[in-house]
Symmetry: C2
């Protein structure tokens, strides 16, 4: 617990108390002010404040002289210890039940916590039948077990911590871009574009109840977005730095631990950028700044997850944070793979996409420091990537960031801003008519620009060491599964 | 321009200069540091700093002795004035072209701006053919005209301002919830629920290219979400305050100025809340705090929009902000409507939903102060709303906030947390099997709770006075239209 955090919380507690006394319409001495458990826990010198806490019972120990309860309200991983006279224990105080407790915050005589609540009154708000509740007191369940209870799993310590980290990382990402002058853009979910040219799209139509047969609601086929890039490029013709952070979709029939049908992407686009270096700089800074924010704002949550899910992850993460990320070209990467003593399932060869096994090897080869791979074969990449006009190995200015445990975390590129080159490529692909609007962006005040996308769930997997992507998103969607 | 903002920007400028001198790998005297126009404009005492600015030309005036350019880079509504020797004007400096300008920031002798840039070098980066570019210098276009150019309209002053306000409001909403201890939850876009029981759903399936006939990708029919509420309720069984801010969908065949097929909702859910008062308090505070943040961070943008789109809107908004919002019951609302001298198309009657004309009348009746309407007829509302158990006029604890110019902006309710009452209602509706998981939330540690949703585009319409909802979202989607 840092001094700064403690001071922050002490202020929050005193604010809660003050707000109660100044803004309550009439004093109700029987209703002490409500405090969150997070705020209660970090009050360094409780001075016998009368407070009310509300939450869910995480343990009950009734002894002859004293009743101990642990209460959690989701505001922190730690529980608040309640100390009470055993007479306050009806038979309803069970693991999982919801309670309201009134009493006095005092310094705890026990080492495990700083404060505890001496209860005057304990009220069970909602019962919980221990027999049918799928989680039992003191049991630790593997993540794949609790995944069967999508409506209840947030009540476990592990998911509670993951969701607090997710919320904190979300906030840190917004703050990072705001502090660096980026405009936030809500790019559309429904689109008539197919950015990647991939076939794995979800199509959208009104449900059968309201659909008019043979007609498209939007007059054209409409899909769920696979990337916000083209829409961000529209914006980067007026704003020099833009970002978005929203859901993205792939109708991939995959059960992999790294794929979801619905996942979140952080995407940014920068105008007047002429080198991949500038883009990689932002990618690395975003990764490090977000991670530092998470580590300093959710230390207990991260510690729990590292300890129980991925021992050794703490050191691996520190290693990533303290080292400058590496940069190699795709061509160098292929050379490294060719020289490897390892036998790959897919033989490495210039012009072929890097496979998961290759990504893994390259990251280990680089000493488990994240590595940027740049300048990919022209023929492997979509039409919008900037031609490096090199030969004989013709490449585009693309970049992927590979990280330990996850593989590809970011993908980015400079975009082809030169009208004639873009026009030629679209013509070759037969896409000229479809992308007239995209050509317009180059027709009127075009600028060199580029950007990247980061898979947010993969980011969480990478920093927390969570093996399966289904455990870092509140409601995972994948083929054969859309629970709730 | 406030003093605080100026100081902030002066610091930003000096930071940019410092960063250049300390972190450039090798000094390149020919490449002065890049500054945004926003930062350049607010430097109070330019001391002849050498800088580089990049942006798009908004005006060119070539006089005999001097060339004046106005440059915009989207970081602010205001342009930076460039003063240069006419010899620097090639014939390419046209409205809409992109440029890079190097020179010295100096105090401007003109009253309209504080600083200007004395250019040493002007380079046109991307040409813009004035003849084919759909926007002309000095022309002011109605919003419905620029709506025809979804890929270029962000280059106009009006859309630039709207998008900056939208970004600022987004940030203010995230900050509000964070400061008040709410956890951010990414609720799913694809869902197998149908929260409102409405038929106007979009259904999702893999596009025809990859779809297997007769099979659902998710094994069940899947839809685009119409509300995050049920998913937030899951979370409110573990976290006492949660919120989400994401896209929401309706397959409504509507061309109204208040409806979109894809729009954004801010939704919050609070546990251990027993009264609508507590929910209304959060709604009102959210509205006012967000608006205050927008007004203080984007004053020029808001002023432009009020001035040209909605004269008088500034006063109307101040009126809303300085008054405590009103509260009336649905029953009182119907009485007021019945007594009205106005002839309504839909005759007001207890038990019938309020129509747009009724909402409008009620807001005017309340002196154009936003008004909460509470306790709606039981039979009008969905199964999850809390039964007030009153009679003979049976109501539920629902609340709508009506605001001037827009009508319904927020909707919320207490949720039925009592297992047996909820079970009875689901049974009557034949929904018991579908909502076993929802009943589980009441079976295990249920708590009184409630929440609300705010339509984000309607919020922007309300504060900015923008008549058509299609103009406050970057890429509007509605029936017959899904451009880009």
């Amino acid at each position: 617990m840092t001094g700064g955090l403690t001071m922050w919380a002490a202020r929050a507690l005193s604010r809660a108390l003050r707000a109660y006394f100044t803004s309550a319409p009439c004093p109700r001495p029987s209703q002490p002010p409500k405090v969150s458990i997070r705020d209660a826990l970090v009050s360094q010198n409780p001075r016998g404040e009368n407070v009310k806490v509300q939450g869910w019972v995480r343990s009950v120990r009734s002894q002859k002289e004293v009743l101990f309860l642990h209460i959690n309200d989701g505001s922190s991983l730690e529980h608040l210890q309640i100390v009470a006279d055993p007479s306050l224990d009806g038979c309803d105080l069970t693991f999982g039940s919801s309670v309201e407790v009134q009493g006095v915050l005092v310094k705890s005589p026990y080492k495990k916590q700083n404060v505890e609540l001496k209860a005057d009154k304990i009220e069970v708000i909602g019962h919980c039948d221990s027999k049918t509740f799928p989680f039992k007191y003191k049991e630790r369940y593997p993540l794949q077990y609790i995944r069967h209870y999508p409506h209840l799993r947030c009540r476990t310590n592990a998911l509670g911590s993951i969701l607090r980290v997710r919320s904190e990382a979300t906030d840190a990402i917004h703050s990072f871009f705001k502090a660096n002058g980026y405009l936030h853009i809500h790019t559309p979910v429904i689109t008539s574009n197919d950015c990647e040219g991939a076939g794995e799209l979800f199509q959208v139509e009104p449900s059968s109840k309201v659909k008019e047969p043979g007609k498209n609601f939007f007059d054209v086929p409409a899909f769920l977005t696979v990337s916000a890039q083209l829409h961000l490029e529209v914006m980067s013709g007026a704003f020099t730095q833009v970002f978005t952070f929203g859901p993205t979709f792939r109708a991939e029939n995959s059960q992999s631990r790294r794929h979801l049908a619905e996942f979140y992407m952080v995407e940014a686009e920068m105008s007047f950028v002429e080198s991949l270096q500038d883009i990689m700089q932002v990618m690395e800074t975003l990764f490090k700044a977000t991670t530092e924010a998470v580590l300093s704002n959710c230390p207990e949550d991260v510690e729990l997850l590292h300890k129980f899910l991925a021992p050794g992850q703490k050191d691996k993460l520190e290693h990533m944070l303290k080292n400058k990320f590496l940069i190699i070209s795709y061509t160098e990467a292929v050379e490294i793979l060719k020289k490897a003593s390892q036998n790959f399932t897919f033989t490495p060869k210039w012009g072929i996409d890097l496979q998961t096994e290759h990504e893994k090897y390259l990251v280990e080869y680089g000493g488990n420091i994240p590595v940027f791979v740049i300048n990919y074969p022209f023929d492997l990449k979509p039409f919008y990537m900037r031609d490096n006009e090199d030969e004989p190995q013709h490449t585009v200015a693309a970049v992927d960031l590979l990280v330990p445990g996850v593989g590809e975390l970011f993908g980015g590129s400079l975009r082809e801003e030169r009208f004639h080159l873009l026009q030629q490529r679209l013509a070759r692909l037969g896409l000229t008519d479809t992308y007239q609007w995209y050509l317009d962006l180059r027709r009127f005040g075009s600028v060199p620009h580029g950007g990247f996308g980061m898979g947010f769930e993969r980011y969480l997997q990478c920093i927390l060491g969570v093996d399966n992507i289904k455990d870092v998103i509140p409601f995972p969607r994948f083929s054969h599964s859309c629970l709730l």
